[in-house]
Structures are given as C-alpha cells and as structure tokens.
C-alpha cells in the first residue's frame, strides 16, 4: 500500500516529544550571526502518528523473520532474539566509552572474551574489534599490511592482488589504503589461476586478498599453493571473512596460510543486518602483525582486570571512533556462547549441506546453468544466461518474479565473472521445506519464461509496489524531500 512521507503527515502545532525542564532558566545569548534564521522544516506529529507511520513502513519491508532471504554473499541467517535481549541490557546502552575502566569491567570483558573466541575460530593471534563493518575491516587489514611493509623499509610494495571474482569492497579498500589493484583471473574451475598468480607476483606485491570459499561458493582447493606463491614473493595473505560461514568451526583461515583476517559479525555471527547496518568487522592478525593493529586493544591482567591498551607502538591509528560497534559485539558473543564448539561446526556443515541440496535440486532446470564445479560450500551461483538467450528473461526478471512468491531474491549480477548470475545462499537456518519451495519457485519461473515470459518480465505483481524505475532515479535524482518539493514546484516531475 501507499504510505505518505512523514513530511506529508505533518500538521503545524502537533508535538510528539516530551523534554525535562532546564535546570535553571539562564539566558544564554547565541551570537547573532550564528543564530538559526533559516526555516527548520521538520515534520510535526504526535507520538501515535509517528508510531503508526513507522509500523506501516516496517510492514512494507522484508526481513529474515518474514521468510527465506538467500541473498548470496550476505549470510542472511536467523538473528536470535536472545542477542537483542542481551544487547538491550542497561549495561550496554547506558555506558559512556570514556568511563574509568574500573566502571566498565563488564564491557571490556565482553570485548576480551569475544577476541578469544575469534582467535580460536580463525587461527589468528590478536584481534581488533574496532572496524564498523566488513569494508572498514578490509581497510584496516590492508592498512596493516601497508604499515608492515613500510615499517620494514619495503617501500616498493604498492600492488594489491585481487581475484576477478572478489567482492567490490576488496579492490576499493585496497585503493583507499593507497594500493594499486592488480586483478587475478579465475580459471575454468572458478578458482584462482595459479599461473596468472605466479605471473602477477613481484617485489611490488604487498599481498593478495582472497575469500575462501570464494564468491562462487567454491573452495579454493589450491589455497596452500596460493599462500606459498604470495609469501614467497614477500606478500601477505588477506582473508575476506564474508564467506566464513562455510567453514566456521571446521577450518581456520590461519591454517590456510592467511596472515590477516576480517570477519563480519553481522553475517557469520548472527547479528542483525539492520537494513544495511550496523555491522561489525573485527580484524585478526598473526603475531608478527599485532603491533600494527588500531588502538586501543583490550588487555587483561589479574591486578588491573580488563583494560584498554593504547600502547601499540606501530599502530595504524584508528579506523573509526572509539572501540567498535559494542552493541553488535555483545550480540555476537551471545551467539557464540550458545552455539559452542559443536554448534559452530554444525552451522557450517548445514550451511554447506543446504547450499548443495539446493544446487542439486535446481541443477538441470531449463534456463539455469551451473558454471564451474558442482561441489559448493555455503552458496552457489547459477547463470540465467541460457534463459536470457532463449527467452529474453534476465536474472533481474527472475529475481523480481521470486518476490511474487513471497520470497526474497538471490544476489544478482555478482560475481561479475558469471553472466546473469543468480547467487543463492540459503544459510543454515532455513528448513528443507523452505529450500524445496524456493527451488519449486525457480522451476516455475523457468516454465513461465519459456511459456509466458511476459509474466516474468513484468514482475513483481504482488509486492508492495510494482517494478521500480531505477534508471529514472539516477537520471533525475531526488535525494531528499527538499529536492522533491523544489522539482515539483518547477514542474519537472509528475510523481
């Protein structure tokens, strides 16, 4: 349905707030030239109206609790409610980050404990919890690699190697840290082409950023060779933890040869994605890199208890203010304590089982092609290229049509090396029936594509709104209500 914007719901004079009185009615003069004179066009609503508005908006949004959400690469697993309950403890919300460490022993202990779990899970020796998200973690990691080389006087290492199947954040983060990005092609198996890698490494190589399993959901089975090649050239190996859910509790990036790892607490560790954030992207390093981590680290000694350790001599500095997304960290630790050793292992096993179950069930359906190997880890990438060729129905259309079945679409058009990619990651928290229904829907769409392609191309038909015109959005940007009003006034838009 339609919900007006909050500006349209506004009526002059309504109030939705209460505020305590000031301590004393002291007159404070704001310098004339600073005093606000421009209009403050904020909406005016009562609390019941605010609540109804956002309740209705929420009902126009699809989340993990609404059904299957197999958005590849995003690990949209169930977010346990106990995480939320713990995160709403007053000891989380009402604590100031600059409090004397004796008054925040609980918070520091939680950070310290999480670090211990993550170390064992990744095979790394030290962690920072500061990064706010995966990409922030990547930036942290590559900055550490940069600092390491520079610290050793190795100033020529300006190139970061990135496979062509990598997440876009990898090259972007490397570039942000000042590296030149060198792309490594994949081989016919969908994994890193060793020969190309051999040719690419040199004394300019700072490192290689790798996801394993990679974004095709395929395990880089030559990982030990890859590590050898990069290390031998003097580079370091960076692990993009976006796909850790495939090997959680079974295989450690540290054992694969990685020197730096970032994790996504909002993917692997069940913290909610919040419609785009907050996430949390801890970064772990092998011992020889720990002096480069951001400050502060969390330390513990018996006398002092838990403390913030700013004594990191070669630290890269800070990658965000303060200590990280603490409210997310608390949720992840809650999850870990509930799952435990065996639970974590079962997570990856079932995530992988579910993905392969889906792969095998869907495989052979007309119009969808399964490129590269059959054996996948936690996700699989099909190509709708044959369907597009034969019927004109694109991956985008398939995605939109899935919405009509009350299901969320897969990630589409990524990784770039697969044409018309449909990247499906069911995760371990969906049931077999949900996977079966998803496969059924994809099969039905295939049938429709070959018999009645219009119905697919014009999808969605049952979603909150019809297909959204994103080309228009970019051509005629309307990025705030203020812009909208101006454009309407000028008669430039009719919506």
């Amino acid at each position: 349905w339609d919900e007006p914007t909050i500006f349209e719901l506004s009526r002059p004079g309504r109030i939705g707030y209460t505020l305590p009185k000031p301590i004393e009615e002291i007159d404070v003069e704001i310098p004339e030239k600073l005093r606000r004179k421009s209009q403050l066009n904020l909406p005016e609503l009562s609390e019941p109206e605010v609540v109804k508005h956002y309740t209705r908006l929420s009902e126009m949004n699809y989340g993990v609790d609404n059904g299957i959400y197999p958005l590849g690469s995003c690990t949209m697993k169930y977010n346990p409610k106990i995480n939320e309950e713990i995160a709403s403890h007053p000891g989380v919300a009402y604590v100031h980050p600059y409090q004397d460490e004796r008054t925040v022993q609980g918070a520091l202990r939680i950070m310290w404990e999480l670090e211990q779990w993550l170390k064992e899970i990744t095979g790394m020796d030290r962690f920072t919890l500061q990064p706010a998200a995966g990409a922030n973690g990547e930036f942290t990691g590559v900055s550490i690699i940069r600092a390491y080389h520079l610290d050793r006087g190795d100033t020529q290492r300006t190139e970061m190697l990135v496979p062509d199947s990598a997440h876009g954040t990898n090259p972007a983060s490397a570039a942000m840290a000042g590296f030149k990005v060198v792309e490594i092609p994949s081989n016919e198996n969908g994994t890193v082409d060793l020969e190309a890698l051999e040719n690419a490494v040199s004394e300019r190589t700072a490192g290689l950023m790798l996801t394993n399993p990679n974004t095709l959901g395929i395990f880089e089975d030559e990982i030990l060779e890859i590590a050898k090649i990069v290390h031998k050239a003097g580079g370091l190996l960076y692990y993009d933890g976006a796909n850790l859910n495939a090997v959680l509790g079974k295989i450690r990036p540290g054992d694969m040869g990685f020197d730096v790892v970032h994790l996504n607490l909002h993917k692997t560790f069940s913290t909610p994605h919040g419609g785009g954030g907050p996430g949390s992207g801890p970064v772990g390093v092998k011992d020889f890199l720990k002096d480069y981590l951001p400050v502060p680290l969390v330390g513990y000694d018996e006398e002092r208890g838990y403390y913030l350790d700013y004594d990191v001599p070669k630290s890269i500095g800070k990658v965000k203010e303060l200590y990280g997304n603490f409210a997310v960290i608390v949720r992840a630790l809650t999850y870990l304590k509930i799952m435990g050793r065996e639970g974590l292992r079962e997570v990856s096993e079932i995530a992988v089982l579910n993905a392969n179950y889906l792969t095998q069930k869907l495989k052979g359906t007309r119009g969808y092609e399964l490129p590269h190997k059959e054996l996948r880890k936690h996700e699989v990438v099909f190509s709708a290229e044959p369907m597009k060729r034969e019927t004109g129905v694109k991956a985008l259309d398939v995605a939109k049509r899935l919405l009509d079945f009350g299901m969320h679409a897969p990630t589409i058009y990524f990784p770039l090396i697969v044409h018309e990619a449909l990247m499906i990651e069911p995760t371990e928290t969906v049931s077999r029936e949900e996977i079966d229904a998803y496969v059924e829907a994809l099969k039905r769409i295939s049938e429709e594509a070959y018999t009645n392609p219009k119905v697919v191309k014009e999808a969605p038909h049952n979603a909150a709104v019809g297909r959204v015109d994103d080309v228009l959005a970019a051509k005629k940007p309307i990025l705030s209500w203020r812009m909208y009003l101006r454009l309407r006034e000028k008669g430039e838009i009719d919506y």
């Binding site: 909050i6 109030i15 310098p31 606000r36 939320e84 604590v95 600059y98 990409a135 996504n264």
Partner: protein, 451 residues
C-alpha cells in the same frame, strides 16, 4: 548446542542421501587433507545460562543511571524515547539487509529517504547519504573527497579537535598521502583566523566544528568558509546536530560538505558504538559524483506510483570497484532510521527546545564549575565545558569516583598547554542534584588537597 537454530539438523542424512552424498565430510572433500580441525572452544550453553552469565557480566558496568557522570567529549547521554527503540527493533527493519530489492524494501527505503530529508533540513544542504560509520569516518571521507574534487592534497583541521577524530583522519588519509595541517585556537578558544589564512593556500578542504572540541560555539564559521572558498578549498563543517534547532544550518553558513554524528538522536551511548555519520553536500554534480556512501532516491514504478530506490550506485564499490568513491558497503542504516524517528518526534519545536535546554544546563554547569575551578575559555558552551583545576586531575577524578561521581574527560594529555583541564558535559538528561553534588564534592576535594 545451537541445534534450535538449525531446522535441518534432524534431516542431514535424508538430505545427503537425496542428493547423492553419504556424509557431511563428502561436502568438504575439496579441502586439503588435515585442514579440518577440532577447535578448542567451550561447549554451547542453554539460553538461560548465557542470559544469566552475560547479565551478570554486564551488571559489572556502572551505568550513568546509577552514577552521575559528566563525561562528554564526543559521546553524550541523551534520552531515547521508548517508541524509537521499539520501532527499530521490529524485525522487518532489524533483520533486513541493504534494500537491494526495492519492491519488498519500500519501508526501509522510505525510512532512509526520510532520514536523508530530515538531515537535509537540519544541515541546510539537500544531498545527504544514508549514513557513514560515524562522525570521525565521515570527516575522514570528506577529507578524501575534498582531495578528489580539488585534486589537491592538503586538508586543514583545527588543532582543537577530538583525539579520536584526529587518529581516524590520520589513518584514512595515510594511504593516499594527504597532508593534515592543524590550525591552533586563539586566546578565546576559537579557531585562529590569522593562522588559518597563513595555512590555507593549496588546501583541498578546510574543516571546522560547531561546537568545537572545547564545547565552544565557533563564532567565525562564515568567515572561515569564505577563506576556504577564496583559496579554492572545500569548506567542510562538522556539526553536533543537537544544536541545529538554535544555531544556523551550516549549509546557510557556506558549507560545501557537512559531516556530523546522527546517533546523538535516537541511539544510546552503547559504550561508543554503533554510531552513524552524517554526510551531506551541496547540490553540485561534481560533489555528488564524488560523494561516498549509499544514497536513496525517489522514483516511480512502471505504473507511475512514487517510490524509493538506491541510486547513484555507479559511485560505489560494488560497481566501480577500485575506482569507487569509498569502500563503504554496510553502513549504519538502522542507527540512521532511529535518529530520523527521534527527529520526527521532536519536530522543529522539540529540536529548538532541546537545544535551549542543553544550552541552559551547560550554562548552569559552567557557572557552578566556575566556583571551584577555572573555566578555560570565554564564549558560549554547548554540552562540553573545559575546566582547569589547581589539583592534579587524576586526583580529582579518583576522589570523585570514590564519591560515586564520574568526573569529566581529561584533555591535558592531548593538549599539555591546557594543564590540568578536563571537559565536563551537560545535556538535557543532566540533573541539578548531580551538578550540585559534583560541585560540593569538588569543593571538598580541593580543600582536602590544599591541606
């Protein structure tokens, strides 16, 4: 443990069989031998046990509800109305991801568009992204953007800047090799205009804050902007948005880019995170093209209905990869929505009133602290007040803590020229009895120390 989250745990064998495998290990046959490990981790526990264990650990934190605290310096105890918390905990918002499929994500898209729109009204610039990680990273990205836009590599900041932000800026600008130049404060704690003029040549951007790190309103914002513009630099203003009901929108004062902290609305302190960085620019194609972060735009459906979608994605990493305007992917969407809900609740009158209350409470705090210490600068303070003591501040701090009061944030370490100075802060949540108790305690502490 954990099987209660794993519906197929009971069906592994059947499922394997159905797809022609015999064991889970078959699914990992591509993993090099010996790489699969037994981990040295604790066993899982029941929800009840974890609930009590973590509740007990968290109870070891002393909250600002239990202990009067005068900490500020970039993090403030504001009250979050209960309905804001309730609404963002609705799982349709909470458990969704980035709205890649707009047709089933109109709720989050519209909420974020409203966030952008509300911030646009506050800061006086029409283009706002849907959040950065926090104020610090937003400022750092503004520095990088200034460099891209101007093709220069010097960025000017006040010396009176939070140490947090300075370090973030340093890390972000290290790779591209930006030069960061600090301009000192004058005797009134204001940015030294003359020194700025000396430094500005060749700058990509000039950054100033309102209020500044000492809690002072910078009186010459407009002039600073003019100086920046004259030198061909972008003018970047960092703002605590809770002041914007009473202080002019930075966009109206000449800012090209506005950054700030959105999480001061609608979000608790959370020991420092999550936050949400404000990032806004002038309606200028050159700036928009170089802007980092997700942006939600309004558009229409095939049948002409107004709706919302992520837009201008060609700036972003998933399209442009190494040439993106930023690497940011996950942002702080929910934090931003919480801020928007809080701001929609406050409305123009509430925001103005909030600003006035904080101004008055700060003035009360300042007046009372003036009785026992030396208020470092003349001027109008908002939230933070720097106060210098005769007694070493660590002693003051220790004695206050003994009395169940948490004093201010010591800044003498970062700015040795200020001596034993700490920032004490007030907001709308500060109670008179707290301040009175603080001043009483300080009086005692000082007179004890003098003995």
């Amino acid at each position: 443990m954990g099987r209660h989250y794993l519906p197929n745990s009971a069906h592994k064998d059947e499922m394997l069989k159905e797809i022609g495998f015999t064991s889970i290990e078959d699914l990992f046959s591509d993993v090099p031998k010996g790489m699969v490990q037994k981990f040295n981790l604790p066993e899982g526990k029941s929800e009840y046990e974890v609930f009590t264990e973590l509740s007990e650990i968290l109870s070891k934190n002393k909250t600002v509800l239990e202990m009067p605290s005068f900490l500020g310096a970039g993090t403030y105890f504001h009250y979050v109305p209960a309905h804001v918390k309730y609404l963002i905990e609705r799982s349709e918002f909470l458990t969704a991801y980035t709205p890649y499929q707009p047709e089933v994500s109109q709720g989050m898209l519209q909420a974020l568009f409203e966030y952008q729109s509300i911030i646009a009204e506050l800061v006086g610039l029409p283009i706002v992204n849907s959040s950065m990680y926090d104020w610090g990273t937003a400022m750092a990205e503004a520095a990088l953007m200034s460099a891209r836009v101007t093709r220069r590599n010097k960025f000017i900041v006040p010396k009176a800047l939070s140490p947090e932000k300075k370090r973030v800026l340093g890390t972000y600008t290290g790779g591209p090799g930006l030069e960061i130049v600090e301009v000192p404060w004058d005797e009134r704690g204001q940015l030294d205009i003359e020194k700025l003029k000396e430094a500005v040549e060749g700058a990509a951007g000039v950054y100033i804050e309102m209020p500044n790190f000492f809690g002072l309103l910078e009186e010459n914002v407009r002039e600073v902007g003019e100086i920046a513009h004259e030198a061909g630099a972008l003018f970047v203003v960092g703002v605590d948005p809770t002041i914007l009901g009473i202080v002019e929108a930075p966009g109206e004062l000449g800012a090209d880019v506005v950054v700030g902290e959105a999480a001061y609305f609608g979000n608790p302190m959370n020991f420092g995170g999550p936050r949400a960085g404000i990032f806004a620019v002038r309606n200028d194609k050159k700036l928009i093209r170089q802007m980092p972060g997700r942006i939600i735009g309004m558009t229409k459906t095939a049948d002409g209905k107004r709706d919302f979608v992520m837009t201008l994605q060609t700036r972003e990493q998933h399209i442009r990869r190494a040439k993106a305007t930023s690497n940011i992917c996950s942002n702080e969407a929910l934090v931003a929505v919480a801020a928007a809900i809080h701001l929609a609740t406050l409305g123009p009158r509430g925001l103005r009133e909030l600003g006035e209350i904080i101004l008055k409470n700060t003035a009360y705090l300042k007046r009372r602290l003036g009785e026992v210490g030396e208020v470092a600068f003349d001027g109008v303070n908002f939230k933070d007040v720097p106060v210098k003591f005769e007694v070493p501040y660590d002693v003051v701090h220790e004695r206050l803590l003994e009395r169940g009061i948490h004093g201010g944030y010591y800044i003498g370490g970062h700015f040795p020229e200020l001596g034993e100075t700490a920032l004490f802060a007030a907001t709308e949540t500060t109670r008179k009895e707290w301040i009175d108790a603080l001043v009483e305690a300080l009086r005692e502490i000082i007179s004890e120390a003098e003995l």
